[in-house]
């Protein structure tokens, strides 16, 4: 039977009054062309796939960049003539040139932080899971949702274009601190590449805001009957807080970028003061600017940004972990509370990125305290994941392995965060490989683990087929072991004082001892990268040739997406949207393995 409360008609926005359609109790399926189904689609499930695949392309590019600069770091004495064939002047004589090296690390950071782990991660799972798990036909505004993807796409095009211009892409580090980023004369990458970077990021911010507005609104306003906030799966809670962080912090980055743009081209001095450029032997007239001001504006986004990356991963992991432990998530309310606490604290710790900028030490101590406070909600979450696993009836599906891998990485990386949160220790550790190791483990690899966990778990819902299991297990174990082998040794390098962002270290006798270690790290990085390519192959191969899903609920999960048909159409449920009677985590209750959220309460059950 068709829905009585749904009408579909061919207008983008509410042009026609509702009264004209009010009497019709039918769905007349709108005609879909290739363009409206696959390109300018307003179906959240298709937009999810667009984000996911664009994110994957970016991840391959960003990963490839790291392989290139690891080649230089691991084999500083060797030359690779084929590099010159590919990169031209950027690898003269088969050696990555310093400008190319800086461009590569800058773009690697930008791409992975924003285009993969923000656009790719949030864009994919917010779009896919929000309507399906809260019981909605689509987003609050499918049109804005579509725009969100296409702004992301435009940002991607601009950013990729910047790789091919003559002076190269931005190369002042992903944080693009002025004055370097403001002065084209000071650095090749600060010429045209920087403008492309700013333009791309402005488009990216718009994309992320359009998405975020929709996510928040949809979660708060469009839940199905019975779906109270405390019955929501934790994925949705995590995405909700992520979107809130993005909506409140991205505009501030945009403010900072606009001021930077004026400093670059209009002659203002917001960030510039008393500068002499050695390359051109020129003293600049700019006075009164403050580069620290940019850092404040940047990190007011930059810090929430790391939670924008990690919170969705936390949500995905919580959900997958409960399902595959066949147990309710431990401490559901504590999980929400800790997400909330992290969201609040995210806005209050940005200056811990600036401990050595001459920040007032008293102010520094306040930020130390607030930073270390984040350990509390983080520890609550870790405790709850471990207790969810505890005595569970664990199914080690690939998704579950990645979920467990996430927790392992999050613990390892989180512990070094406690070191770095201390302003005194930071005097020694800042800008060394210790910080590289810390954030790659806690934010980079963890978030990737969470993302893979989500992809493996929801792939059958997205495409109606399974990923190949053998390749999935190889993917997990090599990635998991490889990530530790790459980043663990970097802690030692960092503790020894080895600074980040240097193209070679031979000039320093004290770091010569790390030559072998660097080679080892680079070798492992290449192996891990190759395994990611295998995952990409698995992904696309399985879309067309994977084993078909034959049951509606292959993981025996409780949430609403598994009540839709194996290939849900636009609108998700062919009939009425199901009503929800219980929370998402009734596993192993009253002798039943799992109870769908749609199942009414028994006589002896109490409301959750």
């Amino acid at each position: 039977m068709m829905s009585t409360d749904l009408t579909i008609h061919g207008h983008g926005e509410a042009v026609v009054s509702h009264d004209t359609h009010g009497g019709e109790h039918e769905v007349h399926h709108h005609k879909e062309t290739f363009i409206t189904k696959y390109v300018f689609s307003q179906d959240h499930k298709m937009i999810c796939k667009q984000f996911l695949i664009t994110g994957m392309i970016w991840a391959i590019l960003g990963g490839l960049m790291s392989v290139l600069f690891r080649l230089q770091l691991g084999y500083p004495d060797s030359t690779f003539p084929w590099l010159e064939d590919v990169l031209g002047k950027w690898a003269k004589g088969g050696k990555i040139q310093p400008e190319a090296y800086y461009a590569l690390v800058t773009m690697h950071g930008t791409v992975l932080v924003f285009f993969v782990l923000t656009g790719g991660l949030s864009g994919t799972f917010a779009n896919f899971l929000i309507p399906l798990q809260i019981g909605a036909r689509d987003m609050a505004s499918p049109f804005l949702n579509m725009l969100s993807y296409w702004f992301f796409w435009m940002a991607s095009v601009v950013m990729i274009t910047s790789l091919f211009i003559e002076t190269g892409p931005a190369s002042g580090g992903w944080t693009i601190y002025p004055p370097l980023s403001a002065l084209g004369d000071a650095n090749m990458g600060s010429k045209g590449g920087m403008d492309y970077w700013i333009t791309a990021m402005a488009l990216f911010v718009v994309s992320s805001l359009l998405g975020g507005l929709n996510y928040i609104t949809t979660i708060l306003n469009m839940r199905t009957k019975g779906m109270s906030m405390t019955r929501l799966p934790l994925t949705i809670w995590a995405i909700f807080f992520t979107a809130t962080l993005g909506v409140l912090s991205f505009p501030v980055l945009l403010s900072g970028l606009i001021l930077l743009l004026f400093d670059r081209h209009a002659g203002t001095s917001f960030y510039l003061s008393d500068i002499f450029i050695a390359a051109t032997q020129k003293a600049l007239p700019n006075e009164g600017g403050s580069p620290i001001l940019f850092q404040h504006l940047f990190w007011f986004l930059g810090h929430p940004e790391v939670y924008i990356i990690i919170l969705p991963a936390m949500g995905l992991v919580s959900e997958v972990m409960a399902i595959n432990s066949r147990k309710p998530i431990f401490g559901y309310m504590a999980m929400i509370g800790s997400l909330f606490a992290i969201t609040i604290l995210a806005f209050l710790v940005w200056a811990h990125h600036m401990f050595v900028t001459g920040l007032n030490p008293f102010l520094g101590s306040v930020f130390v305290l607030l930073t270390l406070l984040i350990a509390v909600p983080s520890a609550i979450k870790v405790f709850n994941w471990l207790t969810t696993l505890w005595r569970g009836n664990i199914r080690l599906t690939p998704a579950m392995l990645f979920a467990i891998g996430f927790v392992s990485m999050f613990i390892s990386g989180g512990l070094t965060g406690v070191f770095l949160g201390n302003s005194t220790l930071d005097i020694h550790l800042h800008d060394t490989y210790f910080i590289i190791a810390h954030f790659h483990i806690v934010m980079g690899v963890s978030a990737f683990m969470g993302m893979f966990c989500g992809v493996y778990h929801w792939f059958p819902k997205m495409y109606g087929r399974y990923l190949n299991n053998t390749m999935s297990y190889i993917h997990f174990w090599v990635t998991f072991a490889g990530a530790y082998l790459i980043f663990w040794p970097m802690h030692y390098e960092g503790l020894a004082g080895m600074p980040r962002r240097y193209v070679e270290y031979q000039g320093w006798a004290s770091f010569n001892q790390f030559g072998d270690l660097n080679r080892f790290i680079s070798t492992v990085a290449m192996v891990v990268f190759a395994v990611q390519l295998m995952f990409v192959f698995n992904f696309f191969y399985s879309i067309f040739k994977g084993r078909k899903v034959t049951t509606q609920n292959p993981w025996q999960a409780n949430t609403l997406e598994w009540t839709t048909p194996i290939h849900p159409g636009h609108g998700n449920w062919p009939g009425e949207i199901p009503e929800v009677h219980r929370w998402a985590y009734d596993y192993g209750k009253d002798g039943k393995d799992f109870i769908l959220q749609t199942e009414p309460l028994g006589a002896d059950e109490q409301h959750h």
Binding site: G10, H11, V16, D138, A140, P251, V252, S290
Partner: protein, 193 residues
């Protein structure tokens, strides 16, 4: 047009607020953060050496009056719409649109005056911030003007009559917001120099 789903259920559920209006409120929060970022930068920067100031051009007082009046006209437009007085609704929309354009013009004249009196992009004082902050605000007003224009076009369409209040409410809320935002910014510029 691109086909999409339209959900009657959303309207029928007797929710307190239409999702599109809610989206606008969240967006307003986001825009506030952007200007909060800029005005905090202004305050931080004021403490640095080399801070310069300017005298507020008269045009900004006029523009303030204009945008205040435009808030009244958009209010009247909404009122006419609920009373189904569509001709007056169209007129009020047009009046708001024109007042919006006049506001932007006056801001531009204000900028011209500042520029002529020596406050250019060179330097790092209140004037340079004013260009950027007020310029971004004018850009937001222009966004509102485009939305008003779309509403006005729709109201002129005699073939499809729409009595859906939501778009009118959304645009009018946004318009009041950019009005209030300017009042805040103007007072900020006057008080904090």
């Amino acid at each position: 047009m691109i086909p999409s789903l339209e959900f009657k259920s959303v309207v029928d559920q007797n929710k307190k607020i239409h999702p599109h209006k809610f989206i606008l409120w969240v967006a307003i929060g986001s825009i506030i953060m952007m200007f909060a970022g800029l005005t905090s930068a202004y305050i931080v920067k004021r403490e640095q050496p080399g801070w310069t100031t300017y005298t507020t051009p008269l045009a900004f007082y006029y523009s303030t009056a204009v945008i205040l009046i435009s808030s009244l006209t958009i209010f009247l437009a909404g009122k006419s719409f609920t009373e189904r007085r569509m001709i007056r609704y169209r007129k009020m929309l047009a009046a708001t649109l024109i007042l919006g354009l006049v506001f932007i013009l006056l801001q531009w004249l204000g900028f011209r005056h500042l520029w002529a009196t020596g406050t250019t992009f060179h330097g790092s004082g209140a004037g340079q911030f004013l260009y950027i902050i007020a310029g971004l605000h004018a850009l937001h007003v222009f966004g509102g003007v485009i939305a008003l224009f779309v509403l006005w076009l729709r109201a002129r369409n005699t073939r499809i009559r729409s009595y859906n209040m939501v778009p009118v409410d959304v645009v009018s809320t946004y318009w009041h917001f950019v009005d209030l935002l300017w009042i805040y910014l103007f007072i900020f510029f006057l008080m904090v120099q």
